[in-house]
């Protein structure tokens, strides 16, 4: 954390943000700072419903705090006491998109923890059945909700039995298993592990029993702050970021010492000896991130041959060449190299996390590329694991889709294809050599989660930047006047996965393209135009005579501003905001030829 001096008179906003960022601000300071910041326009507004079987109003203050830190104004809609089903209806009427659901264990029945010592097994069974039913109903009613953050049960007191496994512990474990099991059927639910929050802040600091017995308000500000922080992390800063790339320095980041001076035998890295064991451990953490779909890059000032030798020969290196998707090993400045990484991977700079031990390099990146999340390796090495834990949270707190795994392999294939490209005489010849296959599907239900994820993630090739939750995708697939096309691309290097989505709406003889988006790793091969003849033919089969489409500009999608022109659609109008509207008679539509693609169609 930088301790930049802020003048509260000249810059009240910066001063208020500094109060929010500090861990020891009092509630009064927080309340004042929140009021100051909420007077201003924020980048986003997010309406969050809070439903609980305890009094948790204090959570609102902390959700607003963490929202403002991520540039979002949070509007809280409070639910009623212990009424998840009613609250869902209430929230939907109020236009809530995200809800926090916090069942409270000791309130399952009055003083439930104390009652459990005497309650019959049948009574506990009956209570579990009732809970399952009630929460299942609430989840079902909330299918259209963008996200539900579901806190698990936790206990307030410790077991008197030193062995720990008392009646409370056993029933708690059972009820949490039941909650998780019911939640597993709903893709819009994100579990927040409340027991881990109690562990993290400490039982003594988590609860204030004064207001518990009086007003059913068990939690302290400390607990609420950590809960809100974790909700913010799980929501990726309430939609502020989506990190995909970890750019790593080498010397004193991946190993101790400087390879150019200490040489192979001198750098500190290995499972047993300090401090090499810390670097070795951190490499395992990075390798695990790579396994979960995070792209690892090197961004380091070294001689390439030195680093390559370590990657190849060092017996205790955990990371090897195969796990690194882009290597920028040179003497250029880091901001330039990070820009080059973003360009090569076709991702935004704001999806990169940069890790370096040097204050100088970190500061340079923070100043020149503030959208990159820069993290510094701590000078005290035993703190390094904690810093990397926080770094992992940036990537993983929001959840990872199965299809995101093995991304490195897919991006590498793309990089390999780039190299091949140079050897061919013409672009068409090159494209033909790729043996491109595209499988186009309509309403592919098995891919709902991936379709929604792609709509949330793609920024650059995204014609209208409309984003869809899982529930919305499902609804459109079910509705008679919508269709969702998805495409799976593969070539001779391997499959690229589900990498494109077109959302169609049919209305009175007109087929509207609600959105068309693709992952940047497959564009430039004609796929983006090649799928349209089939989509238009389908529309004609539905008695549509006209195709309409629009481009809505965003901060990132300039590269597709003329996409529909390239597809051969006549431009009808362009608004002052840059929205471009197109329309064509279906009979006149002729997409550019893409003979090099083998199209298959899956209904």
């Amino acid at each position: 954390m930088s301790d930049a001096v802020v003048n509260p008179v000249t810059d009240p906003q910066a001063a208020a943000l500094a109060v929010l960022a500090k861990s020891d601000s009092t509630m009064m300071q927080l309340t004042q700072a929140i009021a100051t910041l909420e007077k201003d326009e924020q980048a986003r507004t997010v309406k969050i419903g809070v439903s609980s079987s305890a009094t948790v109003d204090l959570l609102g203050t902390y959700l607003r705090k963490h929202g403002l830190l991520a540039g979002a104004r949070i509007e809280i809609v409070a639910g009623n006491y212990d009424d998840p089903i009613g609250d869902v209806a209430l929230f939907q009427r109020a236009g809530v998109e995200q809800m926090v659901l916090l069942p409270f264990f000791d309130n399952v029945q009055p003083s439930f923890e104390a009652q459990l010592g005497t309650l019959s097994p049948e009574a506990v069974d009956a209570r579990e059945a009732e809970l399952r039913l009630r929460y299942r109903l609430a989840f079902e009613q909330a299918r259209a909700m963008h996200t539900i953050y579901l806190g698990t049960f936790h206990r307030m007191g410790s077991a008197a039995d030193a062995g720990g496994q008392d009646a409370v512990a056993l029933v708690l474990a059972r009820f949490n298993a039941a909650l998780r099991e019911e939640a597993a059927a709903f893709s819009n639910i994100r579990i927040i592990d409340a027991e881990d929050i109690v562990r993290a802040v400490g039982q003594v600091a988590a609860f204030d029993t004064r207001f518990y017995f009086r007003s059913k308000a068990p939690y302290t500000g400390v607990y609420m702050n950590e809960l809100a922080r974790r909700i913010a992390a799980a929501s990726r800063g309430f939609g502020a970021h989506f990190y995909k790339v970890l750019a790593l320095d080498c010397d004193n980041t991946l190993w101790g010492g400087v390879i150019g001076e200490d040489l192979m035998a001198g750098i500190k890295l290995g499972p047993y000896d300090y401090p090499g064991n810390i670097f070795w451990r951190m490499q395992h953490e990075f390798a695990a991130l790579e396994r979960q779909g995070i792209l690892l890059c090197l961004c380091t000032k070294n001689n390439p041959a030195d680093v390559d030798e370590v990657l190849r020969e060092h017996p205790d290196m955990v990371l090897r060449d195969a796990q690194i998707v882009v290597k920028k090993i040179n003497w250029e400045d880091k901001p330039s190299n990070l820009r080059a990484i973003a360009r090569e991977l076709n991702v935004g700079l704001d999806s990169i996390v940069f890790l370096d031990d040097s204050s100088f390099e970190c500061e340079a990146v923070r100043q020149q590329l503030p959208m990159v999340k820069t993290i510094q390796v701590p000078a005290a090495l035993p703190d390094y694991p904690r810093v990397v834990r926080e770094l992992k949270e940036l990537f993983l707190a929001g959840g990872i889709a199965a299809d995101s795994r093995a991304k490195t392999e897919q991006y590498r294939q793309r990089a390999g294809a780039e190299q091949l490209k140079a050897q061919f005489e013409s672009q068409d010849e090159y494209l033909a050599s790729l043996e491109l296959k595209v499988a186009l599907s309509r309403n592919a239900r098995a891919s709902v989660a991936r379709i929604s994820e792609l709509s949330q993630k793609s920024n650059q090739f995204n014609l209208t930047t409309r984003r869809y939750s899982v529930a919305e995708v499902e609804q459109m697939m079910d509705s008679a006047d919508h269709a969702i096309y998805s495409l799976v691309v593969s070539d001779k290097f391997g499959p690229a996965g589900l990498t494109g989505v077109a959302v169609m709406r049919y209305d009175d003889g007109v087929a509207h393209v609600e959105n068309f988006l693709m992952s940047c790793r497959v564009i430039g091969r004609g796929v983006e135009t090649g799928v349209w003849p089939r989509i238009v033919a389908d529309a004609v089969a539905r008695a549509c005579t006209e195709l309409r489409a629009e481009f809505v500009p965003s901060a990132k999608n300039a590269q597709v501003a003329d996409f529909y022109d390239r597809l051969g659609l006549p431009l009808l109008a362009e608004t002052p905001e840059g929205v471009r509207r197109y329309a064509i008679h279906a009979a006149d539509f002729a997409a550019p030829a893409t003979t090099w693609i083998e199209m298959t169609y899956v209904e």
Binding site: T26, M27, M28, T31, D57, L58, R210, F211, S215
Partner: protein, 80 residues
């Protein structure tokens, strides 16, 4: 000694009213914003700002400016 201006400022902030509204006769009955939830936050904030621990039996009952002042003065005096 209790700083009454600071007390008024804490109450105004936590009850979300103007500091001028916190007169000597301010209470849960005269200030519409002062509900039981805001009261809880007010007690927590008073404890933080004046570095005292308000006893459980008082926490729920100090629902006017005068009562809060009395309890805080006692607590601060006891601390010396």
């Amino acid at each position: 000694m209790l700083n009454e201006d600071a007390l008024k400022q804490v109450m105004a902030t936590m009850l979300n009213v103007d500091v001028a509204d916190i007169g000597p006769d301010a209470s849960m009955d005269t200030i519409a914003n002062w509900d039981s939830l805001r009261h809880m936050n007010l007690v927590l904030a008073l404890e933080e700002e004046f570095k005292v621990q308000i006893p459980d039996e008082d926490a729920g009952n100090i629902t006017s400016y005068q009562l809060i002042k009395l309890v805080l003065q006692d607590l601060l005096k006891a601390q010396g």
